[in-house]
């Protein structure tokens, strides 16, 4: 295979750095928000430290360590949470006191500090040198460079990359990788079909001082991250380089990136930079006397969720993307490059890449105005405390359900998923004053949240009366065919028998060839050749790509797959009184023999017709999911709320649903498990029908069935946790089995019926001496003594493997 690298700029000794690399600050931070990004940094560090040996070009790599400072208690909690995660991914960290900070970095003002985190593995490097060294290595190994090439378009044939058209001619290729940095979105638009790479440039600042006169050799100092002041400081040619991630950034190039834009800077905006300058002077007081060498304002691209964009485009085969490094390109690129290369060569992801997978976005998120607004907030998130369940403030209301204005009238507090506004909970009248007073100043907390009582009452409504939840954001697909092609396709994809009686609904899964989850979904059969599939909101792009990808060449015409997500408004009517209530507004019999759980019918209710009614609620409660054609949604909702008054109906939000679900140990794809897990590992062996036809991954899965599993998702009930006084678990807490760390929690719920705090999390079995992973049997899980650590305090926890019986 020949690899060609095309670059817009002429290489004047400086290869491939003309966009943003040349002005990068060169921090190689190890502690990242997700496992995959942490892995990228680890690989990068390893690579940069040895690269000179191979290429003869120095990278300036210096393992100077780094200190993250905490000015507040919450920050310390946040750092400890991050440290637990880092430890799980193999990164060494130590919590240190203000005095120890002073020892390691005498220039720092420590009076206002609560503590800090020492990360010995952190390093700095010289960005340009790293790039030169990398490219030398690549050339040595046969990579061809082409300079002054501008890509005009990427041609595809049958949804497969075919060639790249450039100003220097056409190059046929098997694979194309869009590494366009802040141009990646524009390059994505230059293919047919368009590949959506949602990122947007922001102004990004750092300041370099003239050499500092001091007794201390600044070259030996570790990197400082004063997170509460949004700044970092490292040594640079005898002076200091101080940059930051201000809370509200300035988007750049909304109207297009100027041409040419090579080795260029944006005009400096000191007024915008001032907030960071304040932080710098507060952190290192001796900077007050320092003089400026230069203030850099470079453009950097950011993604809607501050995570890289990697992987194969959902709509063009062999079109890969690696972009959106969110200003941590130097730290991430070495590893990201390796992981993507593995991905391409093996045709599948090397680890759980979902957090950075390009398919995590929906098509609408490529909207430029949305991106411009969102990145304002995203840049600053690098250093801000991310509280549990924190929502974005900018780039909201990208997608709204037809009921949005109604839910607003009912005082819904909205959250957002893939740009879709969803009610998290509803402010009721009795609490209205409390929330009005707090207004928008609500910052978030690691303790008992202010919505606790409200969500509890919403939960109770679903358990005792009837609640209604707008779930329109969920992914919905319709598959139709002329004959039995749809059935055949689904039989190939799903782990259950899809040639089930019309009117049946099954909670099933689609697996990859390793027997791991590709999709966790429900399939309803409305006619012999008509299926309706529901899956989690954030799986829409990925599922659609997966399903369409597996339509055989010769069946393309016979099978229609439609993304019906935006076509229906979904109402989840759940609770013991849901049947009686719904019976008031529909003539279809809903009694337990005529409309059994996990069946479906097309019904009319009120003035609405063509409603797809599924007797399931995602919560384990009695009830129906109603998929209502959008134009009928408002009138049906109003009718439901009106008639429902006598049944105690209430709007409920996603938090209540989450608590209902978690208490019954319904694991959720994307949160509790991902595409590296098999159904056996999450306790769903009984959901796989090995008698069903030859579905993808069946062989591998049968093999694994006999082998047993090496990790297991379990549910834990905390024994002595005081909801009012103790910090809450929020996911990401360490689970100890017999004193040994065995895994991390994934999601948390308040079990209002079990009256316990509930954690869902992973159990592994590492051999004490060798560290080799061993089998995890049910007995192994149940036999252990478990503790879950929340901010240094450990709570005893009781494990369970299956849905508990609720009173």
């Amino acid at each position: 295979m020949t690899v060609k690298v095309m670059e817009k700029k002429q290489f004047n000794g400086q290869f491939l750095t003309c966009g943003t690399t040349w002005h990068a600050a060169g921090l190689v931070g190890r502690m990242r928000a997700t496992a995959v990004e942490t892995e990228c940094s680890s690989i990068s560090s390893e690579l940069y430290s040895k690269l000179e040996e191979e290429t003869g070009i120095a990278t300036g790599y210096k393992q100077c360590g780094a200190i993250s400072l905490a000015q507040t208690k919450d920050r310390l909690i946040y750092l400890r949470r991050a440290a637990v995660n880092a430890r799980a991914y193999g990164i060494e960290t130590h919590e240190i006191s203000p005095d120890e900070i002073k020892e390691r970095h005498p220039l720092i003002k420590t009076e206002n500090l609560a503590g800090g985190l020492w990360i010995p593995g952190d390093a700095t490097a010289n960005p340009s040198d790293v790039t030169q060294s990398l490219i030398r290595g690549a050339i040595n190994r046969g990579v061809k460079l082409h300079e002054k090439v501008e890509v005009t378009s990427i041609e595809t044939i049958n949804g497969h990359v075919y060639s790249v058209v450039t100003n220097q001619g056409k190059i046929q290729c098997e694979y194309f990788i869009n590494c366009g940095g802040m141009w990646a979105r524009d390059i994505g638009l230059r293919s047919d079909p368009v590949v959506k790479v949602p990122l947007h440039a922001c102004e990004h600042y750092y300041l370099v001082t003239k050499p500092i006169r001091s007794d201390i050799n600044v070259a030996d100092l570790p990197t400082i991250r004063d997170l509460d002041s949004s700044i970092y400081i490292r040594e640079w040619s005898g002076g200091l380089l101080a940059g930051g991630f201000e809370p509200l950034a300035k988007p750049a190039f909304y109207k297009g990136i100027p041409k040419p834009y090579e080795f260029q800077m944006l005009p400096e905006d000191w007024d915008h930079f001032q907030v960071l300058l304040d932080g710098m002077l507060g952190c290192v007081p001796m900077l007050e006397k320092a003089e400026v060498r230069q203030l850099f304002n470079g453009a950097e691209s950011f993604t809607p969720d501050l995570k890289y964009i990697m992987g194969e485009a959902p709509n063009v085969k062999n079109y890969y993307v690696l972009a959106g490094m969110n200003s941590s390109g130097i730290a991430g690129s070495g590893g990201a490059g390796k992981l993507l290369a593995d991905w391409i060569v093996n045709g599948e992801q090397p680890m759980n890449m979902w957090p950075v997978d390009i398919r995590r976005f929906c098509q609408h998120q490529n909207n430029k105005a949305y991106l411009r607004d969102r990145v304002k907030e995203v840049l600053g998130m690098h250093y801000q405390i991310r509280y549990p369940y924190q929502e974005y403030q900018y780039g909201r209301k990208l997608r709204c359900s037809p009921l949005y204005p109604r839910l607003q009238e009912y005082n819904a507090v909205f959250g957002e998923k893939l740009g879709f506004e969803r009610a998290n909970w509803f402010i009721t009248e009795e609490y209205a004053d409390d929330f009005l007073l707090q207004n928008n100043s609500e910052k978030g907390t690691f303790c008992k949240p202010n919505w606790y009582e409200i969500v509890k009452s919403e939960y109770k409504v679903c358990r005792e009366a009837v609640g209604v939840l707008d779930m329109s954001s969920f992914s919905k697909f319709e598959i139709k065919s002329a004959g039995n092609e749809a059935t055949k396709l689904l039989q190939h994809l799903c782990v259950n028998e899809m040639d089930m009686p019309v009117g049946n609904v099954v909670h099933t899964a689609m697996l990859n060839r390793h027997g791991c989850y590709e999709t966790d979904c429900s399939v309803a059969r409305f006619a012999h050749n008509h299926y309706f599939i529901i899956s989690p909101s954030d799986q829409v792009t990925r599922n659609f790509a997966w399903i369409t990808k597996h339509i055989p060449e010769d069946k393309q015409a016979a099978i229609t797959v439609t993304d019906a997500t935006s076509r229906y408004t979904a109402l989840n009517v759940m609770g013991p009184k849901s049947r009686e209530l719904l019976q008031q507004i529909t003539s279809t019999s809903l009694n337990s023999t005529d409309f059994k759980p996990f069946t479906c019918k097309e019904i009319s209710a009120g003035y609405a017709s063509g409603i797809k009614a599924l007797a399931m609620t995602h919560s384990g409660e009695l009830g129906w999911m109603l998929y209502i054609p959008n134009e009928f949604a408002l009138s049906l909702y109003d009718l439901l709320m009106d008639v429902g008054k006598d049944f105690g109906i209430r709007n409920v939000g996603y938090y209540a649903l989450r608590y209902l679900r978690i208490e019954k140990f319904f694991a959720f794809m994307g949160q509790d498990f991902n595409s590296t897990h098999t159904p056996f590992e999450i306790g769903r062996e009984f959901k796989v029908d090995f008698k069903a036809s030859n579905f993808i991954g069946k062989t591998e899965l049968s093999k694994k069935k006999n082998e047993g599993v090496k990790r297991r998702l379990a549910m834990f009930l905390l024994d002595d946790h005081d909801r009012d006084k103790d910090l809450w678990p929020w996911g990401g807490e360490a689970i100890y089995r017999n004193g040994q760390m065995t895994g991390l929690t994934t999601s948390i719920g308040c079990g209002f019926t079990l009256n316990k705090m509930i954690c869902i999390g992973w159990v592994t079995n590492k051999h004490k001496q060798t560290g080799v992973r061993q089998l995890v049997t049910n007995d192994y899980v149940i036999d252990g003594h478990y503790e879950i650590e929340i901010n240094t305090k450990r709570f005893t926890a009781k494990p369970r493997l299956y849905t508990p019986a609720l009173a």
Binding site: L207, W270, D271, Q274, D278, L287, E288, Q294
Partner: protein, 495 residues
């Protein structure tokens, strides 16, 4: 809208009264409650359908704006001034003038709020400064001016005007004006006024001009054909005048009627506060001192009729004015006018009821005094003096931040120096203005301010009112904002 504005200007050029303005023969002022009512109505109903786009609104607001920068030698303490005018009447009845006195180097600024037509405000705006300049001349310099008259020079070397190129000047009347001025120069030479008494000199100029307006009209009625043709119209219409004379650090404000002049003073303690200092009192029906003055000037049995509905003889809102001879002449003299009987107000026994004697306030500028606002009551209907100075003050700091902050590589600024400079800019950044011209900025706020900042809907509604209704909602607005540099020792007195 553009067509209407053009028409407006065309009428002004003609210098004639628009027939429709007779609807407002009685200087139709309105009360605060009415403004509130209108505002409310605007904020609710009109916001929904803006008739004008934001750029159209800006075009209308900026149509009559202009800025003059003055160097140290020409301006003294005055660095620059911004002015604008927004018409409500058709044609606009407000006039404005700015000029430098050639002999003293002092600067004159005036706003002239006309009523019952434009003739009087037009005439006063053209003539008053000549009278003042003459009146304040040192005795020995008067002869030079007389000389210019004797030699029939076209330019009398009294003033250098700072006019908007659009400003109308009545060519037809110029000769008549000049004759009267010549007589005033002669009379001044004959009089023995003390040179230093500026107060008296300005007062004299005001009164003399008003007398001249009166006598010119009487002469015209008496058949003297040498008088300019508009003399009667000038005398029958009226005008307020608020004039500031700035020389060195001294400011004199002479006011007749209900326009106002306010000094903006930077508060020393608070960081961004501004304090207004009024240099004029409004001569209106709300001013008890004025009412007392008028009552004292007339027999006791008239008191009940003098001021009614806050108006002089139930008719006229300003209690001092130029022109308006129907409140000054004897009834007999008025009867001599065509349709003269109709003009005489009820209860008209002991004229004159109205004077053009200015109230003069002298003020010495302090280093904290940064600007002077002079505006006709069209502005004050919407604005308090406190809000006005705050808006201008914020505009100054906002305008400073329009230019990006730079650190030159050669500069030896420390980071702490830079940080404190940047902090100082913060308040300015928050108030970065839409309009460069601060006078336009004031008009925009006057008409557009709502609870949530400037409301485009309200502005649009105010500016797109039909001509027969607009005067019910707002009056002509004319503003000067004069900026001082009182720190850099520009304040050297000359003359």
């Amino acid at each position: 809208m553009c067509v209407r504005l053009l028409a407006c200007r065309w009428f002004r050029r003609l210098g004639e009264s628009d027939p429709s303005s007779f609807r407002y023969l009685l200087h139709n002022r309105y009360d605060v409650n009415r403004v509130r009512r209108v505002n409310k109505q605007f904020t609710t109903s009109s916001r929904r359908c803006a008739m004008l786009s934001p750029s159209e609104v800006s075009t209308i607001l900026r149509q009559q704006e202009f800025t003059v920068h003055l160097d140290k030698y020409e301006g003294g303490v005055v660095t620059s001034f911004d002015t604008t005018q927004l018409a409500a009447n058709r044609p606009v009845e407000d006039r404005r003038s700015a000029a430098t006195c050639l002999r003293s180097g002092g600067l004159l600024f005036g706003v002239f709020d006309g009523h019952a037509g434009t003739a009087c405000s037009q005439a006063v705006s053209e003539r008053l400064f000549d009278y003042i300049a003459t009146s304040i001349l040192p005795y020995d310099r008067l002869a030079e001016i007389q000389d210019a008259f004797l030699h029939r020079r076209t330019e009398i070397p009294l003033l250098k005007w700072h006019r908007n190129p659009d400003d109308y000047i009545s060519v037809e009347n110029a000769e008549g004006y000049k004759k009267s001025l010549g007589r005033f120069v002669n009379d001044s030479l004959a009089m023995n006024v003390e040179d230093d008494d500026l107060h008296a000199a300005i007062e004299l100029a005001f009164e003399r001009l008003d007398e001249d307006i009166s006598s010119e009209a009487r002469a015209l009625i008496g058949g003297r054909t040498t008088v300019y043709q508009d003399a009667t119209q000038v005398a029958l219409s009226g005008s307020c005048a608020c004039v500031a004379y700035i020389n060195g650090s001294d400011v004199w404000v002479a006011n007749v009627g209900d326009s106002r002049a306010i000094i903006g003073r930077k508060a020393e303690m608070t960081h961004s506060g501004w304090i207004p200092k009024a240099l004029s009192h409004r001569h209106s029906g709300h001013n008890t001192v004025e009412i007392d003055r008028i009552r004292k000037a007339h027999p006791h049995n008239e008191s009940a009729f003098l001021i009614k509905n806050n108006r002089l003889l139930s008719e006229l809102a300003p209690l001092r004015a130029f022109g308006d001879v129907k409140y000054k002449w004897h009834a007999n003299q008025l009867r001599a006018l065509p349709n003269g009987r109709m003009l005489i107000p009820r209860h008209y026994y002991t004229p004159p009821y109205l004077v053009a004697t200015p109230e003069i306030i002298h003020h010495r500028l302090t280093p904290q005094d940064k600007f002077l606002v002079i505006a006709t009551d069209g502005l004050w209907d919407f604005m308090t003096k406190e809000k006005t100075v705050q808006l201008v003050g914020d505009h100054i700091s906002g305008r400073e931040t329009l230019e990006a902050f730079k650190v030159r590589p050669t500069s030896r600024f420390t980071l702490s120096d830079i940080n404190s400079k940047l902090k100082d800019r913060k308040s300015g950044l928050a108030s970065r203005p839409i309009d460069d011209n601060v006078a336009t900025h004031l008009v925009r706020h006057a008409l557009g301010d709502s609870e949530k900042g400037i409301s485009h809907g309200k502005l649009s509604a105010f500016l797109s009112l039909p001509h027969y209704e607009v005067r019910d909602h707002r009056d002509d607005i004319t503003i000067y904002v004069i900026f001082f540099d009182t720190e850099k020792k520009r304040s050297k007195s000359r003359g």
